[in-house]
């Protein structure tokens, strides 16, 4: 890896900006799948219209521009630039060098192809080798084993288990806080 290494390009996918013209229609469709929303967020699931998604994009870019502690990317296919998901680093505390990571692959047909792992690989390198963060956190609900697997494979370890912090489908679930230190990431990529 050197200065010419493309930080935002993987084998299958790449990280790109929001396309305000086209993306909102696609993401609006994703939000009509309650599973997608519930895997991502503890907030009550509700579908968003394309106009609501557009507003969200504007808020995201305003936040990125003004707060300097959010880094939001769309995940797109290499070649045709088709939108498949998003990934973001947020709640960065520069004083301590920590932050959170979250990602989603919107269409169920796009899951299980390695797009998420590749996006995560790119964002980890970006976080540790470009933002120079010291550690990253990820919050995952107990009922999302795919996400747990994804983060664990990337080197994250479980740090906190917030017992019964989530209630869905008539039962309680733990909220799991995972963490990855820069030194652990460095060790891991050395071996790859």
């Amino acid at each position: 890896m050197d200065i010419a290494t493309q930080l935002f390009e993987g084998q299958l996918i790449c990280l790109g900006p929001i396309d305000h013209e086209k993306d909102a229609e696609i993401e609006s469709k994703w939000t009509h799948d309650p599973d997608y929303l519930r895997m991502l967020s503890p907030k009550p699931a509700r579908p968003l219209s394309p106009a609501m998604v557009k507003k969200k994009y504007e808020a995201v870019e305003k936040e990125m521009d003004e707060s300097h502690n959010t880094f939001y990317f769309t995940i797109r296919m290499r070649g045709d630039d088709r939108l498949v998901g998003f990934i973001k680093i947020y709640w960065v505390e520069w004083t301590h060098g920590n932050g959170f990571v979250e990602l989603g692959i919107g269409d169920p047909n796009d899951r299980g192809h390695g797009y998420g792992s590749e996006a995560l690989r790119l964002i980890l390198r970006y976080s540790f080798a470009e933002l120079n963060l010291f550690r990253l956190s990820a919050m995952v609900p107990e009922y999302n084993p795919a996400a747990l697997h994804l983060f664990t494979k990337a080197g994250f370890v479980e740090e906190v288990r917030r017992r019964q912090a989530l209630q869905r489908d008539g039962r309680y679930w733990d909220a799991i806080h995972l963490g990855l230190l820069r030194e652990e990431w460095e060790e891991k990529v050395k071996g790859e």
Partner: protein
């Protein structure tokens, strides 16, 4: 209904006018040890004037996601700190709690633990929540001890989350479930 929800053994919870609270907050924030025990962010100082405007704005919003109280010593009614439930997840029954004792002469005497007991009773019997969550810094053993005494259980540590004085520190997370609270305090209610 024969329990005063806002009353503990040593403290009572109350609410004063924004200008009084703002003056106290502005003064407390000049004590860097207090600030470092309370918050991971670097200490900053704001005037009572602007803090007052923030409090007033918060009161106007009142989305039902935050429940803020002043902590008063029963013996003299002095305002010695604050305690607050914030970020209430109504759909899951979870909330965060934060507490700060700005008046140092009340440290280490059980006022904080008592205030925490009062707010737990409020969270479980008035808000009817399922659990209460908090984060506390590794370098604050007095607070950790107090939370253990109030019934919080250790749920993990966010490793090396903070950098202070050239050293990395963990953030401990603790939680208490309704059933644990009920068992512990059944005899008191």
């Amino acid at each position: 209904m024969n329990v005063n929800l806002f009353q503990g053994e040593q403290v009572r919870l109350g609410m004063l006018n924004p200008e009084i609270l703002a003056k106290a907050f502005s003064r407390w924030d000049r004590d860097s040890e207090y600030v470092r025990l309370l918050d991971g962010g670097a200490g900053r100082m704001f005037s009572a004037k602007i803090i007052q405007s923030w409090i007033e704005k918060d009161l106007e919003k009142d989305l039902g996601l935050d429940f803020f109280f002043g902590i008063h010593a029963q013996e003299n009614d002095h305002l010695l700190g604050f305690i607050s439930l914030f970020g209430v997840d109504w759909n899951h029954g979870n909330t965060w709690v934060g507490i700060g004792l700005g008046e140092r002469e009340y440290w280490g005497k059980g006022y904080g633990t008592d205030a925490m007991k009062v707010i737990l009773r409020y969270a479980f019997t008035e808000l009817n929540l399922h659990r209460v969550t908090l984060g506390v810094f590794e370098y604050n053993p007095r607070a950790i001890r107090s939370y253990e005494k109030a019934g919080f259980v250790h749920e993990g540590r966010v490793r090396q989350e903070l950098l202070k004085d050239g050293q990395r520190w963990d953030v401990l997370e603790m939680g208490i479930l309704r059933e644990e609270w009920e068992k512990r305090y059944a005899s008191l209610n």
